[in-house]
Symmetry: C2
């Protein structure tokens, strides 16, 4: 399996580059070989294509990867993020203009947006934009620029200026690290400008983080914990987070029990 096989995969990949599915039967006739050969191509060579129930799809496309495999460990992770986003969504009101940060934490929030009549979403993340573009009730503003694959988001010099021109109501920010004394940080420096601009412009700022982020310090610092009005996190994690927290009082923290403002 080498040259011919690779060529076939290239042709198929080319065909599917724009998205869509291709039945194995059609893929075979397109390449002028039998279905079995296509199957063997896929299992021998590694490619960007995936076979999903007899149909070929681009593996990198968002809808092809399993989102919720009950058998996998992700089943532990996903419901948590879903829960956090459900809490976060309780702060959304009809007509809001929301800034939604990049990363996977806030993705389940997007599903909740269908429950409103009219919203506006501002984002610099491609995965967020793709999900929101399918919602007829949500106006989408994508802040463009150069694409960074690592975070599926865009960076640009005038990101800050672009955000300042928009009347953002509520900012939903995610982070890769939160430390009581060292503040809130993320992995990629190009995320700093949009995050800071959104924090500066929004009238309400929400930080949404799961417990695993607490105590972590990541390369790109972008805010102090005090810059946020609301922190949404796991209940069991909340006390640990605020041990050395000396800033202003957090309101509306949706952690009903077990949370004590120990500072």
């Amino acid at each position: 399996m080498n040259d011919r096989s690779a060529q076939r995969l290239a042709l198929l990949q080319e065909t599917l580059a724009g998205g869509g599915t291709l039945h194995l039967r059609d893929a075979a006739s397109l390449c002028g070989v039998s279905e079995m050969t296509i199957r063997r191509d896929l299992s021998t060579q590694s490619s960007a294509l995936a076979l999903l129930g007899g149909r070929l799809v681009m593996a990198s496309y968002p809808s092809s990867t399993p989102a919720y495999d009950l058998a996998e460990q992700q089943a532990n992770d996903y419901p948590l993020k879903h829960l956090l986003c459900k809490r976060a969504a309780s702060f959304i009101e009809e007509g809001d203009t929301l800034f939604i940060d990049c990363g996977s934490t806030l993705v389940p929030l997007l599903g909740q947006l269908g429950n409103f009549h009219e919203l506006t979403v501002v984002t610099y993340a491609l995965n967020v934009a793709t999900a929101v573009s399918a919602l007829p009730n949500v106006r989408l503003v994508l802040l463009g620029g150069l694409f960074y694959a690592s975070s599926q988001s865009f960076g640009s010099d005038d990101m800050r200026a672009a955000i300042e021109r928009i009347g953002i109501n509520k900012a939903f920010i995610s982070a890769a690290g939160v430390d009581c004394t060292r503040g809130v940080s993320c992995f990629h420096f190009h995320e700093v400008a949009p995050k800071q601009a959104a924090i500066a412009c929004a009238s309400q700022r929400l930080l949404v983080i799961d417990a695993s982020k607490i105590g972590m310090i990541r390369p790109a610092y972008f805010a102090s914990l005090n810059d946020f009005d609301i922190v949404v996190t796991n209940e069991d994690a909340a006390p640990a987070l605020f041990t050395h927290f000396t800033g202003r009082v957090l309101t509306h923290l949706p952690v009903p029990s077990s949370f004590e403002q120990s500072c």
Copy 2:
């Protein structure tokens, strides 16, 4: 089938809003019903979800819709666009910075980009951006703004200025209508600014249109035929196009036979 059913679908849609697939088995256990019930929900109510080989996906997501159904009439249309794009791709050179227009015509071009070592793609279309984001060898610059679902693209006041700041090498432009005397037009007015800016800035301008567009006049005029250096179209359509064409001579028109410069 009404209330309960709709709620289940809403939950599933929420779960899949961010993309990914959900096995029917998992969907059933998530909703606390049998697989059969989910199947019935899907077949009774219409929703944004699709069942693809035992897995649920968002139907609106690019990778879920069949791209090339050999049994359908699209099989007649797609190969043509593929052919046009193959010709158009022959003008691409290593290291180029390409402007790629919105619409479906240029989508097959994106598959060809994988054959190069390093390229930069500038676009204001979400579907183009999604496809290009999967290519590791292509730098992607997305021109953002307000999203227009009708053309899967973005519009913004400073689109023109943003394009002028980028050194665009070759502009690949599509159109919904081309008329010998009335010029080149499209359906949506927000497309005019980016198209015109790209035409103004690029050092080489290519118009890619299939024969069905010739003779059509659409609401939004954006260029004269003379503004383009190269026109890529079906061979049989070329002569008709240039009957009253009095502008400068087109070079590199990749229509080897049957084409006569009748002007």
